[in-house]
């Protein structure tokens, strides 16, 4: 491939190749503080290929390929190349990672203890983690929480935060440094997207795990409420939120069982980021 970059994010190393320079230049700038050792052995290879014979030049269009691929993934416009690279890396983790139980969740840490947030797309888990990351918590990841198979700890995977639509303005107001934002990607399949570089301490401590202390199922846009969630329901929802629970077999079951029985779980409804942050502070200080 003409352009390439090797990136370390949390415990994983990615090799990203592209036929175009632009996505690699953008990645390399946004991930400047992450390990970029071109000689490192990569866990996964991601390729950004032209979607057809002429598509490198004419209406350039990117196909996301690599070690693990989705057969029918729709090609993307080259101006969304950065998003294609991010999706390519996520796909490798979702389909290939076996060293932790992978849960589709965001996480933040304080005093060595982790708050894990999971929910459907649009629940606000990603934005909440980014917000808390600017307000005294250590940001650990907005996409995947990695559960240790032997000691149950949560490992960070702090890739760029993917801010969507209204969350972009909300985080622009929160983060003073505009250099931490990537280009605004308009009209993507998920609307407007803008990437945010995590805070420096999140990157510096990206191999540092934390003990899970609270699991939240946030829901944005509903009047304030807090409800307990039973262990059976938590277990079922997390099996659905995990991409490798089945592949890990008994080890995955043990890790999830341990998480569900040891970590208290609550559903919270909220109407603004400030409200959620206040609720979380309250719940956090009430923990034993």
């Amino acid at each position: 491939m003409r352009h390439a970059l090797t990136l370390g994010i949390g415990p994983a190393t990615f090799r990203i190749g592209s036929e175009w320079g632009q996505p690699i230049d953008q990645l390399s700038a946004l991930y400047a503080a992450y390990p970029q050792d071109a000689a490192a052995v990569a866990d996964y290879t991601v390729r950004l290929e032209p979607a057809g014979p002429l598509r490198r030049w004419w209406r350039p269009s990117v196909r996301i390929a690599g070690d693990h691929m989705l057969p029918d993934a729709a090609p993307m416009a080259l101006r969304h190349g950065l998003l294609a690279a991010e999706m390519g890396m996520n796909l490798q983790m979702a389909l290939g990672w076996r060293r932790h139980l992978l849960i589709h969740a965001s996480s933040v840490e304080k005093d060595g203890r982790a708050l894990v947030m999971t929910g459907e797309s649009g629940s606000g888990k990603s934005t909440l983690a980014a917000l808390l990351g600017e307000r005294g918590w250590r940001f650990m990841g907005d996409e995947f929480a990695l559960l240790d198979l032997s000691d149950g700890g949560v490992h960070p995977f702090p890739r760029l935060v993917s801010l969507k639509n209204a969350a972009i303005e909300a985080m622009r107001a929160e983060v003073g440094d505009s250099a931490r934002f990537g280009p605004l990607l308009e009209d993507t399949p998920k609307g407007a997207i803008r990437h945010l570089v995590p805070p420096a301490d999140a990157i510096a401590r990206m191999r540092e795990a934390a003990v899970p202390a609270l699991l939240l199922f946030p829901r944005y846009g509903v009047a304030r409420d807090v409800r307990p969630v039973g262990q059976g329901e938590v277990f079922m929802r997390l099996t659905q939120a995990s991409t490798n629970y089945v592949a890990l077999g008994e080890e995955g079951f043990e890790a999830l069982h341990r998480f569900v029985t040891e970590v208290p779980a609550l559903a919270i409804d909220y109407e603004s980021g400030d409200e959620a942050a206040a609720m979380i502070d309250e719940l956090w200080s009430a923990l034993p």
Binding site: M1, T13, R15, G17, A39, A40, V41, A42, D43, T45, R47, E49, A65, G66, D67, G96, R98, R99, A247, G249
Partner: protein, 330 residues
């Protein structure tokens, strides 16, 4: 070319300790693309490799073990579905290698479950599988009719709960292919494994793999198929019995080519013909990014696979039908 580095390592695993870290990325990508990473992991057991590589290989071994477990369970379910008919399925390919504990099965990825049943019992077998939860996946009537009239297997079925595919064969090559293997002999010579399962005889296992690779298909995934053949050939006790069996099935030339390719790619080398060299170029076309670097050659083999499969007039009609339905070569 990374496919070349990959096969060198499969041939001679101790070379691994002399590799530079930077060479591994290409090898791992090529191995994943060829579905040989689990096989490579098994080959490299006990060889000193960098830590990040050994973590990747450990993952691949874990995946291969899971695949094997699932494949054996699928075989067990198929056997249970067919048992009331007094029919014992003959396992083919990956599931057979796993069930029989063959070296070809070590670390191997196993996709669909392939089984062989006598052609005159195909309808009963299909009905029993449908009753046990398998469903058709080819809703197109042309495809369905094509399979039933010309192929060596039923249209693929998928189990509605376990989401696993089964291919029910009645012979080992499409009916339109030039060689016509003796399906009845495959069945009478099959070997009992216990648990209501059978596998082909030692010789027929080799010849099925050879027929599948040399006389059918476009050689995609060919490196893995050739590795299977290498392992199966190594298990053969009586070479002349294999030769006689190949002649019986009309596969003598195919077996000879397979032996030359195995010796060239995974062994100490053997004189190649001009056509063999094209096969080798096609087999070793993965580059350091896991991409097919010889697309034109792939296309040529794709065309060849169709010419092998049917006579020209029938092929034209087939391609015209598929084209109208919007199908394009990959």
């Amino acid at each position: 070319m990374s496919a070349r580095a990959l096969v060198a390592l499969l041939r001679d695993p101790v070379r691994a300790s002399a590799l530079a870290e930077s060479e591994w990325n290409g090898i791992i990508s090529a191995a994943r693309a060829e579905r040989l990473l689990g096989t490579l992991a098994v080959r490299l057991e006990g060889v000193d490799v960098p830590d990040p590589v050994s973590a990747i290989l450990a993952d691949a071994q874990l995946d291969a073990e899971r695949e094997k477990r699932i494949a054996l369970w699928e075989a067990n379910r198929a056997a249970a579905a067919l048992a009331p008919l007094g029919l014992e399925p003959i396992l083919l390919k990956g599931a057979a290698y796993a069930a029989a504990g063959l070296r070809a099965g070590k670390g191997r990825m196993i996709g669909d479950l392939d089984i062989l049943v006598p052609r005159d019992r195909l309808d009963e077998a299909e009905a029993a599988l449908l009753a046990a939860g398998w469903e058709w996946v080819k809703p197109d009537p042309y495809d369905d009719a094509y399979y039933r009239r010309w192929m060596h297997e039923l249209p693929p079925l998928i189990h509605r709960e376990r989401d696993r595919m089964i291919d029910v064969h009645h012979t080992i090559l499409p009916l339109t292919a030039r060689p016509r293997p003796d399906a009845a002999a495959l069945i009478t010579q099959s070997v009992e494994l216990g648990g209501g399962l059978l596998v082909l005889s030692q010789e027929d296992r080799v010849l099925h793999a050879v027929a599948h690779m040399m006389a059918d298909g476009d050689l995609s995934g060919g490196l893995r198929n050739l590795w299977d053949i290498r392992c199966l050939l190594a298990d053969i006790e009586d070479k002349s019995a294999l030769d006689r069996r190949a002649a019986h099935h009309g596969l003598t030339a195919h077996l000879a080519r397979a032996r030359r390719l195995v010796a060239h790619v995974y062994g100490d080398g053997l004189r190649l013909t001009f056509a063999d060299r094209l096969f080798v170029r096609r087999l070793l076309s993965r580059d350091a990014w896991g991409q097919d670097s010889r697309k034109w050659l792939g296309l040529a083999f794709y065309i060849r696979s169709h010419l092998l499969r049917m006579p020209p007039l029938m092929l034209m009609r087939h391609l015209w039908t598929k084209w109208r339905k919007g199908h394009r070569p990959a």
